[in-house]
């Protein structure tokens, strides 16, 4: 029975890897966007995402909470202290003993160091701070860690990515590994690499997080989306970042 099970697992592994993207075949969503959308991202003076980055820069220096501390009071100049940080998230939090994403990291700092209320998911302030921090890693390769402690979450993320879900019974893999480059309702299906988050999505007419986008995808296949901050969501983020390892951060990206 054990031998049958390991043969079955090996076959599944082969089946899954057959549909995987080859590292050299990976392309950013930027490559699938129209020239006009790309032009919007390329020009910092016209990229709407920069409105949030600028807001984040202001919030970075603003004192908050009962401790009356600003991010800057501990972290100094973000351009130095935050360089490369977003490229390594989601990261393992030793105290919580699980991976957390950048938004959760910011809120943990707020709660523990600033003694302030956490910022609500998708709130303007949280988006602004996340965008500002991620912006400091722009151009740097995604480098989420390979710790053994992260293995369980990564495997869960991989499983969720390949699992069919929703009334349309589609998996992430079917669109983003097997059908990227083809059209779905007027847009070209990208490979789903989270290189530019938080990003300005034209559909939202606002900056938004990776978690928001994942929820949209799930609604798109008529599945019940995971809650913000759910372990499934963070595991999926971790898997996606690992799948995109080495690709440069583009925050704030612009996408349709």
């Amino acid at each position: 029975m054990k031998r049958l099970r390991s043969v079955a697992l090996a076959l599944i592994a082969v089946f899954i890897t057959a549909a995987e993207l080859q590292p050299e075949a990976r392309r950013s969503g930027y490559d699938f966007a129209s020239p006009e959308t790309r032009a919007m991202q390329d020009d910092d003076t016209a990229n709407p995402g920069m409105l949030w980055v600028g807001q984040g820069e202001t919030l970075w220096a603003k004192k908050a909470g009962a401790a009356d501390k600003a991010c800057a009071d501990c972290h100094g100049d973000a351009q130095t202290s935050m360089k490369g940080v977003a490229a390594r998230y989601p990261a393992f939090d030793a105290a919580l003993r699980r991976p957390i994403d950048l938004e959760q990291r910011i809120n943990r700092c707020r709660a523990e160091r600033q003694k302030a209320e956490p910022l609500a998911w998708e709130s303007a302030e949280l988006l602004a701070l996340t965008a500002f921090v991620a912006y400091q890693s722009r151009g740097m390769p995604i480098a989420v860690e390979d710790k053994p402690e992260l293995r369980g979450a990564r495997d869960l993320g991989a499983e969720l990515f390949h699992r069919r879900e929703g009334q349309l019974n589609l998996s992430c893999s079917q669109c983003h590994n097997e059908n990227w480059g083809k059209r779905l309702a007027g847009n070209v299906i990208p490979q789903a690499h989270p290189t530019g988050y938080p990003l300005y999505r034209l559909e939202w007419q606002s900056l938004g997080s990776l978690q928001r986008r994942l929820r949209n995808c799930m609604t798109g296949v008529r599945a019940e989306p995971y809650e913000y901050g759910a372990p499934e969501t963070v595991s999926l983020e971790l898997y996606l970042m690992k799948r995109a390892r080495g690709m440069p951060i583009e925050t704030p990206a612009v996408r349709p």
């Binding site: 003076t45 016209a46 409105l51 949030w52 007419q205 606002s206």
Partner: protein, 106 residues
């Protein structure tokens, strides 16, 4: 105070035509969207944008709901003399936000 991004050269030659790019954070609520209960969400847009150069109006835009959220407006002006460019955005309720930038013209 909505977040604003204004881009123009800090210095220019007299007579040079410069391009000014402006972005302001605003949802530009059209008035045509329906909320969860089926009621129309009230229109709230920036309806006018004005730019003055040392007090003289050099550009004005009247905007309608068909202008995208976080309005981007780029226009040109001749760098005539050093001084102040004042940008103002007025919304439906009549509130105006103003930003000032300086230019050195030699």
């Amino acid at each position: 105070m909505a977040r604003v991004l204004i881009n123009l050269p800090a210095r220019a030659k007299r007579g040079q035509v410069i391009e000014i790019k402006t972005l302001i954070a605003h949802p530009m609520e059209t008035g045509y969207r329906l909320d969860g209960k089926g009621a129309a969400i009230r229109r709230d847009i920036i309806k006018r944008f004005v730019c003055t150069y040392n007090g003289e109006e050099i550009f004005q835009a009247e905007l309608f709901p068909a202008i995208a959220a976080n309005p981007f407006i780029a226009f040109c002006t001749v760098a005539t003399e050093s001084g102040e460019l004042v940008f103002s955005w007025t919304d439906d309720p009549g509130q105006t936000q103003t930003e000032t930038r300086h230019i050195a013209v030699e």
